[in-house]
Amino acid sequence: MSVEEISRKIDTKKLDEIIESCGSDKSHLIAILQKVQEEYKYLPEDALIYIGSKIVGLSPATVYGVATFYAQFSLDPKGKYEIKVCDGTACHVRGSMPVMNAIKKKLNLKDGKVTTDDGLFSMETVSCLGACGLAPVMMVNDKVYPQMTSDAVSIILDTLMKEEGVK
């Protein structure tokens, strides 16, 4: 696909702005991808191809390689509320699995599905949020919730759903 073809599919002006703000050297690739993900909530394939063709020394394949290497990047859209359940050692020992299961059940996330159909919530596990003293913890966007239980999760999700007008 040529750059011209891609620009018909995705807003390349936005991508150019991001590349400019981070610096167009290939060493800034991770920062660029982080900003793209912030913008789109995931990394659209067309954006990866565009960045790979645009920056000197990179190819779409290299960009794809970096995008799939790091856990932070997602090639599938994430939810408006990104739930990160900590499954670090301390959280695991104090029961992060029941918390995770409660979220999955509540949001009806089955068979490896990570994002709800309405695009509101997505859930993933992370290795450690560094709040081990409050285990088990979870994070919704940038907010950390301490000492989670399945009941607490239910209340938090209910509140968020109510705010969003979900029945």
Partner: protein
């Protein structure tokens, strides 16, 4: 001697005066843990009340200081009033008014918010009497929780940038390196390589461009000391890096921080901007020829990036895969230039060593492991949190004195130290001195210092499976033994916890473990089998019980659990049958119920619901 454009002592006096003028200082923890517990609201409320203060007896005003992490996360939100020697724990926004009216205004402590000692059950009135703190030696963490983490003035008031100013003034980089060598400081990130040697090797390549890199990619689950330093005392880290840059002749540096630490990133950015404004960083530091520009690189979630060559690859914008050594970063590192990489805690020790001298530092610790070490104490222990003790302190002192023993009166079983690269230690190691050599000998390692305490109801095979799952996910895939081996080890461990393994599987497990150890390039692969090997060494009988007797001694593994109703205790209230999500319980009113084991999913919902404690695990 080089002339400086500033007088650091004068700056210090000004900053201390500034703090004195704040009147009564009320410290509220604003670390990640306490923020999660609502400390920002507590701070707001205090500020609201403080605005109207005019009736304080000894002070003309009150100042609320949002600080970094105090380490006692479990007890958050923490509120400390140093002048009144008091620490309040688990403070909620509703409690603020009472503290203000009773203690701030009328000098009467609020008893119910004081810390209760888990052993004696008594309230502790004085800060110094809280065992959690009393038994610690806080040096790297000394300022965390005592100063406003976002104010460079407060950092200067507690000797911030004094060591840097003296180093630049004396203009003798070799002397700085010698001091670090003499101190005996070893890398706090895991391997424990002598820091001074690393500096010396990098300085030997002086001349062209070189870099100082701080490894803040604290990926070990269960460790958060680096986060606390970055959040609570960022200037100490910046000063340590600037001193390192001066010593090895670097003019540019990077701090590589995990993206999971947004607060640390925010505070570091502010700290760098403030330091640049004061000319403590950036071009022509303190009016001299020495320049040092610092950047922040956010990681993107890869455990292997904690390995130094992988971290360099990641800063360069590539997949974070380790590179063969040699060449070592000291010769050919970031962008092919000589690079000094140190961990956050290591660098935070530097200003202290320079200011107080190598002999002060080496007077703490053991023969081969000098100074203090921070540990993240978590798991089934009463006082979880961040601690700092001299190297060589025993596990018993840490878990039972500082940690206050095992929670819920349970029995101690093991402690997992050093994260996924470390190992499990048992009761027989409780009196082992915590230093690099002793721990390695026992099959564990200091690592970054995560200590996860486990009680009798933790299944060690499940713990091994947990770590193997982690290393399997985080293996970068470069070396086949690690990529394929961790996968196969996990597969066997999953078979064991599911009760489907044979004794031969155990031998294969061990064989693969040794292959991974021998055949991997980087530290992640070389140490990945450690949790399995150490649990096999100390808890082999648990593995055997799973395989041969199909029993999980700790009662954790669901495949081997059987939920049963004791007929003699069951009153036939039908509550369990109504609670069961899969309809596995049958029975009629007032007659004993029964669980259909073929339907039961072992969720324990019935067990928790039964009002007569008639349901148990077998």
């Amino acid at each position: 001697m080089t002339n400086l454009s500033i007088d650091i002592v004068e700056e210090q006096n000004k900053a201390q005066q500034h703090i004195k003028e704040q009147g009564l200082r009320v410290l509220v923890c604003a670390g990640t843990g306490c923020v999660a517990n609502g400390s920002l609201k507590v701070i707001e409320k205090f500020k609201e009340l403080g605005a109207s203060v005019s009736t304080l007896t000894d002070y003309d005003k009150m100042t609320i200081v949002p600080t970094g992490c105090h380490g006692f996360c479990e007890q958050g939100v923490l509120v400390i009033i140093p002048d009144k020697h008091v620490t309040y724990v688990k403070v909620h926004v509703e409690d603020v008014e009472e503290i203000f009216e009773s203690h701030v205004k009328n000098d009467k402590p609020v008893e119910r918010l004081l810390y209760t000692d888990p052993k004696s059950g008594e309230r502790v009135h004085k800060n110094d009497d809280i065992n959690f703190y009393a038994k610690q030696t806080r040096t790297a963490l000394a300022n965390c929780g005592k100063i406003n983490a976002e104010s460079i003035e407060e950092a200067i008031a507690v000797h911030g940038y004094e060591a840097l100013a003296n180093v630049i003034k004396e203009n003798n980089p070799d002397k700085v390196i010698q001091e670090v060598l003499d101190s005996g400081l070893r890398g706090r990130g895991g391997a424990g390589f002598p820091t001074g040697l690393k500096w010396k090797f990098t300085a030997a390549n002086k001349g062209g461009k070189s870099y100082v890199v701080c490894n803040g990619d604290e990926g070990d689950p269960g460790a958060f000391m680096d986060r606390s330093v970055m959040e609570g005392d960022p200037h100490k880290l910046l000063e340590g890096m600037a001193i390192a840059a001066f010593a090895i002749g670097a003019d540019e540096g990077y701090i590589y921080v995990r993206a999971e630490y947004p607060l640390a990133i925010k505070r570091l950015r502010k700290a760098i901007a403030d330091a640049e404004e004061k000319h403590f960083l950036g071009k022509n530091i303190m009016g001299t020829d020495f320049s040092f520009t610092l950047h922040i690189k956010e990681g993107a979630g890869a455990f292997v990036c904690g390995e130094e060559s992988a971290l360099i690859a990641s800063i360069e914008g590539e997949r974070g895969m380790p590179r063969p050594k040699p060449p070592f970063p000291a010769n050919k590192g970031l962008f092919g230039r000589p690079t000094l990489i140190n961990n956050v805690e290591t660098l935070a020790n530097i200003p202290l060593i320079i200011r107080k001298g190598a002999s002060w530092f080496s007077s703490m610790g053991t023969e081969t492991s000098k100074g203090t070490k921070t540990f993240a104490l978590t798991g089934e222990v009463n006082n979880t949190g961040l601690i700092e003790v001299p190297m060589g302190t025993t596990l018993r002192e840490i878990i039972f004195d500082i940690g206050g023993g095992i929670r819920g009166g349970k029995k101690f079983k093991a402690v997992q130290i050093g994260g996924p690269s470390g190992g499990c230690l048992t009761e027989q190691h409780l009196d082992l001195p915590m230093d690099y050599e002793s721990l390695t000998k026992a099959g564990a390692m200091v690592g970054s210092g995560g200590l996860v305490v486990m009680a009798e109801d933790t299944c060690m095979v499940e713990v091994a499976r947990f770590f193997m799952n982690f290393t399997k996910n985080e293996s970068c895939g470069k070396c086949v033994p690690c990529r394929e081996g961790t996968k196969n080890m996990l597969h066997i461990l999953e078979k064991i916890v599911a009760g489907k393994a044979t004794m031969e599987d155990l031998d294969v497990l061990e064989e693969i473990a040794h292959t991974i150890k021998d055949g991997s390039l980087c530290g992640l692969g070389k140490t990945a089998p450690n949790p399995v090997l150490s649990t096999l060494k100390y808890f082999r009988d648990e593995y055997v019980a799973h395989i041969r007797d199909h029993k999980c001694p700790a009662g954790v593994c669901t495949a081997m659990k059987k939920i049963v109703i004791h007929e003699d205790l069951c009153k036939g209230c039908t509550k369990c049958a109504r609670t069961c999500p899969v309809g596995a319980i049958e029975g009629t009113v007032k007659n004993p119920h029964k669980i259909d084991q073929t339907k039961c999913i072992k969720c324990e919902a019935c067990l928790n619901a039964c009002p007569f404690k008639a349901i148990g695990k077998e």
